[in-house]
């Protein structure tokens, strides 16, 4: 589904992704972790080409992203992206946030899109918030609307960039619950997160990144119990003790 072949990226002189090789299969849930500045957000932002990269190949659902003639708009419609800061459209209601792309990209009729939108909002537990504006919602609710907005496009892949990092602690659970459910339904997911409970519970694979390199990759049990590298071991001890 997603295949990185020797991907390299520089921000000016800073080498932020180094020779990334990664293969994510359909239905797989991959958690990406690592210290801040390790390139994990950049990595998943490459998957829908929010970030360009200079070297290497990346195929998403068979589409070559290193090819500059690729139709990004079409590709992005098939990939849901959930941001750390939600980025809901503040001038629209929750329902309008969710239906905007189905109406304009999928060319659905408004009534059908609204039916779909209400379904998706119900799925994230916010059926009663359809007419609320983002400012009237808590952080956890906003992030769940953002997830519903991604799901409304029936994406093949969902990407999550630190979806709970901007939330108050008491709201993290409600967002993770939605993500756990999504994972159990077989969605292909790449999740940048420090929520190791989530990683243990649903990830098929944990990837550890440091200084732009993919340092370690393994199933969550092995990764947490017996990290192969010192850097991973250090990282795990830090996040588990804090």
């Amino acid at each position: 589904m997603i295949k990185f072949n020797g991907v390299n990226k520089w921000f000016g002189k800073l080498h932020v992704l180094r020779d990334i090789d990664l293969h994510v299969t359909s239905g797989e849930v991959v958690v990406v972790c690592g210290p801040s500045g390790s390139g994990k957000s950049t990595l998943i932002r490459c998957i829908n080409r929010l970030e360009k990269f200079q070297k290497g190949e990346l195929f998403v659902d068979g589409t070559p992203l290193h090819d500059h003639s690729t139709n990004l708009t079409k590709l992005r419609a098939e990939i849901g992206f959930v941001f750390q800061q939600f980025h809901l459209y503040p001038h629209m209601t929750a329902l309008q946030n969710v239906t905007l792309a189905p109406i304009n990209v999928r060319k659905m009729k408004r009534a059908d899109a609204e039916k779909l939108g209400r379904e998706k909002l119900a799925r994230v537990g916010l059926a009663d918030k359809a007419d609320a504006h983002p400012t009237q919602l808590s952080g956890g609710q906003q992030q769940r609307v953002a997830i519903a907005r991604g799901l409304a496009m029936s994406p093949k892949i969902m990407l999550f960039d630190e979806p709970t990092s901007a939330l108050d602690p008491e709201m993290i659970g409600e967002v993770l619950d939605v993500m756990v459910k999504l994972a159990s339904e077989g969605m292909t997911m790449c999740v940048v997160t420090h929520e190791m409970g989530f990683a243990r519970q649903v990830a098929h694979r944990v990837i550890f990144m440091d200084e732009g390199s993919l340092v370690e990759s393994g199933n969550p049990h092995d990764f947490f119990a017996n990290p192969k590298t010192d850097r991973a071991a250090q990282f795990i001890s830090k996040i588990l003790t804090h």
Binding site: N48, L50, L72, T73, K74, R76, A77, E78, I79, G80, F81, F83, Q85, H87, L88, Y89, P90, H91, L100, A101, N104, V105, T135, A146, R149, G150, M153
Partner: protein, 222 residues
């Protein structure tokens, strides 16, 4: 004598209304055109296309850095040298549009740049094309920043339109000049001219202030 002139002024008041109408037509039409072109150029100026950004920047600098009366003379007197004949009215429309576009495109670019980057990322991530991103996500949010100064700019442009009188357009200001030749009470005549300009400008000034207040409260809500 004053009274006599005042009565004469009342008699020829319809002439002033014609001038007012001409001022409204010249500025109204050019404002509409300048708003449309300014919106497009402003979006381009806020883009990442360096060539476009520089070209528009150069245009804005030239227009802002030269007096409007010089611009209008150039258009009115130089274009015929190149074989382009323009009547006074279209020449006035053209020069006012060029002037207005320069200011409006800066206002629009400022408004677009004020929308957080995450909004572009969210919109493009959900598969909206560039036009849809602008139409549904970016422009509606930037209107908050754009509208108050835009209406303020309209007031400035309506007042700047008085310069078109120098190329013979019979606008409100030119009506004043013509009238003074017959009624030598300059103060009286130009007070009337000023009053009529004020009659158009003042409602717009009020509107601009109200928009500013309204947008400020919306901003707080966001």
């Amino acid at each position: 004598m004053m009274l006599f002139y005042f009565q004469r002024l009342v008699e020829i008041f319809p002439f002033f209304l014609k001038g007012l109408w001409m001022t409204a037509a010249v500025s109204g039409i050019s404002l509409i055109m300048a708003t449309i072109i300014g919106l497009l150029l402003g979006i381009a100026r806020a883009s990442e296309n360096k060539l476009l950004v520089r070209l528009i920047g150069a245009y804005v600098a030239v227009i802002r850095g030269t007096p409007f009366v010089v611009q209008i003379f150039i258009i009115f007197f130089i274009l015929p040298e190149w074989g382009i004949q323009l009547e006074a009215f279209p020449a006035a429309l053209l020069s006012l549009t060029i002037l207005g576009t320069a200011f409006i495109c800066e206002i629009v670019a400022g408004g677009i740049k004020a929308v957080p980057r995450g909004q572009w990322e969210a919109a493009s991530s959900s598969g909206l094309n560039l036009y849809q991103q602008l139409r549904y996500v970016i422009v509606p949010q930037s209107l908050q920043t754009i509208l108050p100064p835009l209406v303020g700019q309209y007031v400035l442009l309506i007042k700047d339109s008085s310069v078109v009188s120098v190329i013979g357009v019979m606008d409100l200001t030119r009506v004043g000049w013509v009238t003074v030749n017959r009624i030598p009470e300059g103060l009286m005549v130009f007070s009337l001219v000023g009053l009529l300009y004020f009659a158009i400008s003042y409602p717009l000034i009020r509107l601009s202030n109200r928009l500013e207040k309204k947008m400020a409260t919306q901003q707080v809500m966001l």
